[in-house]
């Protein structure tokens, strides 16, 4: 139960290294800055979590890594390095060779990502046959082997079934098995357990963790569930309105949340010991601003307790709380902590 098992070696070359990622999407009203200046890297067997509320750009970031953005989106970056190669300017053909092979992605709803008219077996085998030039027989062996790995009893029978014959948890296991067919170096998991029951969620996360160790996979875990992040990830990037507002190791960020948004999010979670009628949950007033057009200043300022005039005028860069723990705010950590106590005292 402790975190002694976590923490990949820091010395090894990162599997994915994203630097200065911007995604702009043309919409009828103008240009929507969906993702601005996002940088992170994930090493082998390491998990990075992208956290934020709907519309914060976490899914767009993951689609940008896979280069699956819609045509109306324009991607620019200093670099997106995958396994040492800069894939920023890869063609669609180059990317097709990587996707499903060296980078895999699992989505929130396994029902919509499996093809309902093909048997599970055919869908798993296709991946392997296509990328590895394997025969049907080899592919079938590999598929049964992986189904056992993901904890499915009686794989031979399961391979002949259709997705609708399986429960949500089983379908998600199938998706994970499919992604592992070619032993990807990077797995992007977009809300992999949101549609599942709580007990199944824990089982799937445990499965991902043990497979990650075995195959030394880098995982980018996208979620809005802070409990999942705290227990599963090594590093975390909190996103708000297309920007990373705080990033660092999970221990640092959860023990010493610095950005007002991070603090607000953590206070919104019902905790053990809060009782009905007596305590109030913290909540963040207001809503996420529009990202269309030129955005100046801090995008959180309209919902922030600490906001002052200066927040609207100056763009804020990420700056360190300490080594490997950055936040994006004009005020110092001490100022933010002090002001907060002031508010609480009133």
């Amino acid at each position: 139960m402790t975190r002694a098992d976590s923490g990949a070696s820091q010395t090894s070359e990162p599997v994915i290294d994203v630097s200065g990622l911007n995604v702009d999407i043309s919409v009828p009203a103008g240009i929507l800055h969906a993702v601005s200046d996002v940088s992170f890297s994930v090493g082998p067997a390491e998990t990075l979590s992208l956290v934020g509320e709907s519309g914060c750009g976490k899914t767009i970031t993951s689609l940008a890594m896979m280069r699956l953005l819609p045509r109306s989106a324009k991607l620019t970056a200093r670099h997106i390095r995958f396994d040492g190669m800069d894939i920023t300017n890869y063609t669609e053909k180059d990317m097709t060779r990587l996707r499903g092979n060296r980078m895999g992605m699992i989505f929130q709803d396994p029902m919509t990502s499996l093809n309902p008219v093909y048997r599970i077996g055919d869908q798993l085998e296709e991946v392997y046959m296509r990328h590895r030039n394997a025969s049907r027989k080899e592919a079938r062996e590999r598929a049964s082997f992986l189904l056992e790995k993901v904890g499915i009893i009686n794989p031979a029978q399961r391979l002949t079934q259709f997705p609708h014959q399986l429960s949500g948890g089983l379908r998600q296991r199938m998706m994970i098995a499919m992604m592992l067919m070619c032993e990807p170096k990077l797995l992007i998991a977009d809300e992999p357990t949101t549609a599942l029951d709580v007990t199944v969620q824990v089982q799937i996360l445990q499965l991902l963790r043990s497979l990650q160790k075995e195959f030394s996979m880098a995982i980018v875990l996208i979620t809005h569930n802070l409990g999942v992040v705290a227990r599963m990830a090594d590093k975390v990037a909190i996103m708000y309105a297309g920007k990373v507002v705080e990033q660092g190791s999970v221990q640092d960020v959860f023990d010493r949340p610095t950005h007002p948004y991070t603090r607000g999010l953590l206070e919104c979670i019902p905790r053990h010991g809060l009782t009905a009628g007596h305590d109030k949950l913290g909540s963040i007033p207001g809503i996420v601003p529009s990202l269309v057009g030129k955005v100046t200043g801090c995008s959180f300022r309209n919902r922030c307790l600490h906001a002052e005039e200066v927040c609207a005028m100056r763009d804020v860069a990420l700056r360190p709380v300490k080594d490997n723990h950055d936040y994006r705010c004009l005020f110092s950590p001490e100022e933010l902590a002090g002001a907060r106590e002031g508010v609480a005292a009133q």
């Binding site: 429960s167 007990t199 824990v202 227990r231 019902p270 905790r271």
Partner: protein, 329 residues
């Protein structure tokens, strides 16, 4: 019976459900009899005014069917539902709807996109033929204010609103007829955490202000702990543990409740993933296991568990259905 009997002495319950059963027939055609699926199998519960009863359980355990029965959207196969002592089984849907109102999970699909907020919230008044148009408008505006929606939104459409605002509309629509009971089926699971907190706080405020009674259906036990006075844990159509929220959540008795509690992921970065004392495999509801329905997944299963169905026993103020707590004859 169990909880019902205990509470009768204090005050007449707002909602009383007794031995409620709903059996679906699966695969039925004119050639053959269907197979019975007992989605809700002998459930009893009692809720007093101003209380919140949370029903927790995994998908497929029957909690949504139970909520549909209590809303009168489906007819029970057996058993009884009473609101303030009056039976509701068999009465007109409209009379039912005045008493019990729903708030559904997804505020994106539960609101008609072609109607304005004023129309959505005011529709129940028209259907039940309450008041003159001007009175209706006044009532709509009062309710919108109660749920924290600005009056200017009365002519807006759902598509112009955020998820949290839409859920407020759904709550306003449920409140407009002044019902006795609100059945909230996963009211916040489609919302972001910061918005979830706003809606949970709103529901708490409304309960105090209007002395409302909630049936709160959720799979998120940390939300349940924040909201509920009583908790009922449901497994395969039956309540396996029912009692005061504090007792059920702090000293769980049924192994299934324990497993559910273990699977809560608190945002503590120093803990890894929990180990669950739970065997794999949700059972087929068409062929429920013999004896205790939970025994194939239970790590504490004994011989007797696969042979006989456990009886509900009372420990402290909690009712639990498990062979670990044998009934005294």
């Amino acid at each position: 019976m169990n909880m019902a009997a205990q509470m009768k002495d204090a005050e007449a319950p707002v909602l009383e459900v007794r031995d409620l059963t709903r059996v679906f027939s699966i695969g039925k055609s004119w050639l053959k009899e269907g197979k019975p699926l007992r989605a809700v199998d002998g459930v009893s519960l009692t809720v007093k005014r101003g209380e919140v009863l949370a029903i927790v359980g995994e998908s497929g355990c029957g909690k949504t069917t139970l909520s549909r029965l209590m809303l009168g959207l489906q007819q029970p196969s057996g058993g009884d539902i009473r609101v303030l002592g009056e039976p509701l089984v068999g009465v007109d849907r409209k009379a039912f709807a005045r008493r019990v109102q729903p708030v559904f999970q997804d505020p994106y699909s539960s609101l008609n996109p072609r109607k304005t907020i004023g129309q959505i919230v005011g529709d129940p008044l028209i259907i039940h033929n309450v008041g003159a148009p001007s009175e209706r408008l006044a009532r709509v505006e009062t309710v919108m204010e109660q749920v924290g929606l600005p009056r200017r939104l009365v002519n807006s459409y759902p598509s112009q609103m955020s998820g949290g605002q839409r859920q407020r509309v759904a709550i306003a629509r449920a409140l407009v007829m002044k019902p006795e009971v609100l059945i909230c089926d996963e009211p916040t699971s489609a919302l972001d955490v910061s918005v979830q907190a706003q809606i949970l706080n709103l529901l708490q405020d409304l309960r105090e202000e209007l002395n409302l009674t909630y049936i709160f259906i959720s799979h998120d036990l940390s939300v349940v702990e924040y909201m509920a006075d009583y908790v009922a844990v449901m497994y395969l159509g039956r309540f396996v543990e029912v009692g005061p929220a504090k007792q059920v959540l702090n000293t769980p008795k049924h192994p299934y409740t324990q497993a559910l509690l273990d699977s809560i992921l608190t945002p503590d970065a120093h803990l890894g993933l929990p180990q669950l004392d739970l065997r794999a495999g949700f059972p087929d509801p068409l062929n429920p296991p013999p004896g205790c329905r939970f025994h194939p997944r239970c790590v504490k299963a004994m011989d007797v568990c696969s042979k006989s169905t456990p009886k509900m026993v009372r420990i402290d103020d909690t009712d639990v259905e498990c062979h670990l707590y044998p009934a005294k004859d």
